[in-house]
Amino acid sequence: MSKLQKKDTEPWVAKYRPKTVDDVSYQEDVISALKKSLNTGNLPHLLFYGPPGTGKTSTILAIAMDIYGPELIKQRVLELNASDERGIEVVRTKIKNFAGYTVNKTTSGTGNNPGATFKLIILDEADSMTADAQAALRRTIETTSKTTRFCLLCNYISRIIDPLASRCAKFRFKPLDTDATIERLKFISLQEGIKCEESVYQAIQTVSDGDMRKAITYLQSAFRFFGNKITDNTIYNIAGSLPPQLIKQLIDCCKKNSFDRLQAMVQSIISQGYPVSQVISQLFDYVLTTKDLNQSQKSHITMKIGNVDRNLIDGSEEFLQLFDLSSFIMKQLNNNSTSANGDDMIIG
């Protein structure tokens, strides 16, 4: 009945997750430091931070696998993420209990590192823990440090309270550069039998912006959608970014200095379903590189873009926001002779 087969249903992101610490791409500094401490059989408390898709979860899972092997990992590692209840109650009971157990030295020899005499608690997405829950962890980390190592993963280190951050060795995961992304994508293409042009990889790199997970998801989606006929445009399409012509049309509209046209243009962009956040980020690229505007105008527009972006995140109406921004750009574009005076228009 079903057209779906059981095999191959695993997303490539999971399939090609690094199995060992050495497989992790591009984070050489972090990896070399971690490997040194792994060899000594000891590990400090860890705090990994960095943008999404840079390999934080992958690295810690690979480390856990290295230390404990597939069997022991079930008993020795407690993984909690934002999908688990992690209020102060859980910190006080579940985490504290787990941290309190001592491990039996004789059974720790099954992994690659015979000397591992500690358990590991992984707190994924730690920045979504409440400050109270984090504060409750402080003393637990110290009192149980003989038997337990904590590893906190987060996107924004600023959301981890200071006393917690100071107890951990901090590792920053940087966004992947072009070569590392493309190399990994090519490796996957080879394994999966995808043939496509060099420019496609470039396109994926541009839209994914250093986020490996995004890059692999795009590659897989494009392959599932179009088979071996992947082109640059299909990638842009899947990523939900606007075709460059559309942005150009919008800018041309602004140059004409006519509100009626602008309104129709904005309406059409909205009804085509493009996310406005995407539109403004592409408009931003235009503003940065264009020669039609002078420095002060550019800075005014950039401030406006910042405001609009925040308004959107607060949930404002997309049409109004885009209309506001594009009319502001229209004003600046048609104001070239006089110096741009946008003081009354900029409200924080």
Partner: protein, 347 residues
Amino acid sequence: MLWIDKYKPTSLDKMDYHNDISINLKNMIKSGDFPHLLVYGPSGAGKKTRILAVLQEIYGPNALKLKIDHRTFKHPTSSKSIQITTISSHYHIEINPGEAGSYDRVVIQTIIKEIAQSPPIDSASLGAFKIVILNEVDKLSKDAQHALRRTMEKYATFCRLILCCDSTAKVIDPIKSRCLGIRVPAPSQDDIEKVLYKVATAEKFDLPAKLAVNVAKQSGGNLRYALMLLESQKAKQYPFQSSELPLLDWENYIGQIVKDCFEEQSPTRLSIVRGKLYELLGHCIPPELIFKTLLLEIFKKLDHDMKFEIIHWASYYEHRSQIGSKPIFHLEAFIAKFMSIYKKYNQ
């Protein structure tokens, strides 16, 4: 049965427009793999229709035999109990976590995790995984979205999520990077007209060309609205006497408000307008729609130079009304601001 339900296409082949999306989706299903999907686009563009068609494509007609359930479950830490409605078939379950209000995080943490954790019983015959459809993801709180992240990865082998929303602005990046985004644009004017004619032929009545154009224009790319409009027009008078469509009551009403504002700018006038705004809100017209319509009405009569300022204030107060709790303050502030600018400009 309403026409929108009666003529809802049930398979990807029967879609009336955006055939490229249908073809791509079919290719994807054929290849046997299927990432998490994030379907977005303006309302009435056919997102839900396409999602259901995908289900039917995978599982056959049984996927459309739906049953509605009310589930009650306990809040894990407090004694509150939360109720939520689910729509499910053998193969999928559809939830609107936003229903639980500020407890949406708990819904994600308990119900969805519970569904995702248990693999399908007979994976050979039922398809290799189950599908969870989440509606209005953009209305989910940040906490709830974070709670989804790891669940999406961990149980990806036997559970796929299809997320559905109007705008991706409020969907956090980590979720977006785990999904394949599918943009469903609003149907074009021609597309809508085509559907209208198709329905007219099936219902065996004559549709004047002018009326079709007008309905398509007024619908603003919302096919659901277009069909409703046509059906109500037919119920009202058939054969159609005129091809003019009456403006909606609230649109007329906003037109009046704008007229009031242009006539006189004074505190007394403001308090009259306030009464009218209350009336609109009392009839459940969403404030963002009022802002938008007000602005567009004002623009019809305004000088070019003033428009820059007015659009700025419209978006400014609309944003404030989103953060604040009582929209009437912000609507009124906008009107007052407009009056003062207009008066200053005319002096």
